[in-house]
């Protein structure tokens, strides 16, 4: 990892710019759904937690790893369900008003 530390820093720079660009021109009505959506995306932490638990040796490591996976999975699943329920409203809206046009 140390050898590629500069590559990783470039990744961070570009990823940060991407995040900034993606959000820059968002209408106010999408602020909450988008916050919820990005909340879901950092649920990817569950993957890191799984690897950590997978390498846990002692009981305390297993316990902490277990908690990490549990919380991470809840973040991902809950984040997805909440976001989808919110965005569902936008879709229904389209369907309802479509026949009138």
């Amino acid at each position: 990892m140390t050898g590629s530390i500069w590559a990783a820093l470039y990744i961070i720079l570009l990823a940060a710019l991407t995040g900034y660009e993606v959000i820059r021109r968002v209408p106010v009505i999408l602020h909450t759904p988008l916050m919820s959506g990005s909340n879901f995306i950092h649920g990817i932490v569950v993957v890191g937690a799984m690897v950590a638990l997978g390498h846990a040796e002692t009981f305390i490591e297993q316990l902490i790893g277990f908690i990490a996976v549990l919380l991470g999975a809840a973040n991902a699943a809950g984040g997805y369900a909440v976001t989808e329920r919110m965005l569902e409203m936008f879709e229904q809206k389209k369907l309802r008003s479509a026949p009138r046009e």
Binding site: A8, M35, E61, G78
Partner: protein, 454 residues
């Protein structure tokens, strides 16, 4: 297998970015979350094939339990409570990042000091986001009051707490060990609580958004420490996007981040808010119905109270009844009506109210002077003229809906209590304002019945 995992992670990162991009436009938003969801599923499944792992049994139990419980709660909770659900799930993500840091620090598996430092940073930020989000959840859920919690010497105590956590974290680089790790996390978690306590319920949306960005950052740090590219990219993107979103939200509420975080300190001088003149004038629901029946234009300003009373479906009926009589009906949506930017639009859309009837603050404010009746349903601070006139008011400078410009103002309110910001509302005492007391759903229902009989 290793290559396959890397390819899958690469795809995941790309799909996340595409998903987020699609979520930033109303038309493609729904598909955006699906793309991101697919990416997450792919990443989780492929991770089971990570070489050299054990504890599979524990892993599966944790994944399944966490997923099921969170899924069921997220599906069951009413739309009104969505903001606190975001808070709690965000907190869990922060907690997970913190726990990864804790595990790596205790196991001592990190290759060099730089990695330990990153694990410490991620642990600190993650722990703060975790405990802070729990407080935010408790406030919005009504477990804790919405007023800021302040006590003597709060800032020095908070700083001391952060200082101890930071010192313990730096010490960990020199002498790693379970006891020191425990101390570090104890104070990091405590700091998250202390930092959030002095923030009132009205500012919680901004704070939740801030913690969302912090969790992203924590995830990126831990990704760096354990060498996982998917975590680095997704965490950084969310960190940047979340930071910008936080700034946008704060701007919509006319607050600065510093003001939100430290605003409560030394501000507890509510006496300086000035006297309110006039009296509250109540009106019967039937009379209110008559007033509305002979209006040409009605503007409805909904607030959180409407959402709490679950009155949005009745409001839809009211809209239909009014339109039936040839009355023009518009909705005035304050950027932070509800609890968060956009929350009210979602609630009204759920009730089937037309998108074209919803108007932003800038669009609708010039219209109030030609409005016959403004109907305020469960909104308070967002229609308080003190924001324009009273420099001593805590909400001074916040853009508000100028409902007081219209000929008549009807305010549906449960009782005589104050709003979320805990301040008196001059609007309620104005000459052209009438108060209609009662539960929003019942009042609106009676309004609809009365209108039909006229």
């Amino acid at each position: 297998m290793n290559n396959l995992i890397q390819i899958a992670y690469f795809l995941t990162a790309a799909l996340f970015i595409i998903g987020l991009q699609r979520m930033s436009s109303p038309r493609s938003a729904r598909s955006g979350i699906r793309w991101a969801g697919g990416a997450m599923l792919l990443a989780v499944i492929i991770t089971f094939f990570w070489p050299g792992m054990h504890n599979y049994f524990l892993m599966i139990i944790a994944v399944v339990t966490g997923t099921l419980v969170a899924w069921i709660f997220a599906k069951r909770v009413s739309m009104t409570d969505m903001p606190q659900m975001i808070a709690i799930y965000n907190g869990m993500g922060g907690g997970a990042a913190g726990a990864i840091g804790a595990q790596e620090l205790i196991a001592g598996s990190l290759s060099n000091n730089g990695m330990v430092l990153l694990a410490v940073c991620g642990g600190l930020i993650g722990a703060v986001a975790f405990s802070g989000s729990l407080i935010a959840f408790a406030r919005l859920q009504g477990i804790m009051g919405s007023r800021p919690t302040v006590f003597a010497a709060q800032q020095p105590v908070n700083l001391l707490c952060l200082g101890i956590a930071a010192l313990a974290g730096l010490w960990l680089i020199l002498t790693p060990g379970p006891a020191l790790t425990g101390l570090f996390f104890l104070f990091a978690l405590l700091f998250g609580v202390l930092m959030t306590l002095p923030i009132g319920g009205g500012d919680m949306p901004v704070v939740i958004s801030l913690y969302n960005a912090l969790t992203g950052l924590a995830v990126a740090c831990e990704g760096f420490a354990i060498g996982n590219a998917a975590l680095i990219v997704a965490g950084t993107v969310v960190g940047a996007a979340g930071t910008l979103l936080t700034l946008l939200m704060a701007k919509a509420m006319n607050r600065t981040i510093a003001n939100v975080l430290f605003g409560a300190f030394g501000q507890e001088s509510t006496a300086a808010q000035g006297e309110v003149h006039g009296s509250l004038k109540a009106m019967e629901i039937e009379d209110a119905a008559i007033l509305m029946a002979y209006a040409e234009k009605v503007v409805i300003a909904p607030g959180y109270g409407m959402a709490v009373a679950q009155a949005q479906h009745k409001v839809k009926e009211l809209t239909t009844a009014l339109e039936h009589r040839g009355i023009k009906v518009k909705f005035a949506i304050h950027p932070v009506a509800g609890r968060m930017p956009g929350h009210m639009n979602v609630l009204l859309a759920e009730a089937g109210i037309d998108y074209e009837q919803l108007f932003d603050l800038e669009e609708v404010n010039p219209e109030f002077s030609t409005t016959d009746v403004s109907l305020v349903i469960g909104a308070n601070d967002v229609v308080n003229p003190a924001a324009r006139t009273n420099a001593a008011s805590p909400i001074y400078g916040m853009p508000i809906l100028n409902v007081d410009d219209s000929k008549n103002v009807l305010v549906i309110k449960r009782g005589k209590g104050k709003g979320f910001a805990g301040i008196e509302n001059e609007l309620f005492f104005a000459d052209n304002t009438r108060m209609v007391y009662g539960d929003a759903q019942e009042v609106v229902n009676t309004l609809v019945q009365s209108l039909k009989q006229l």
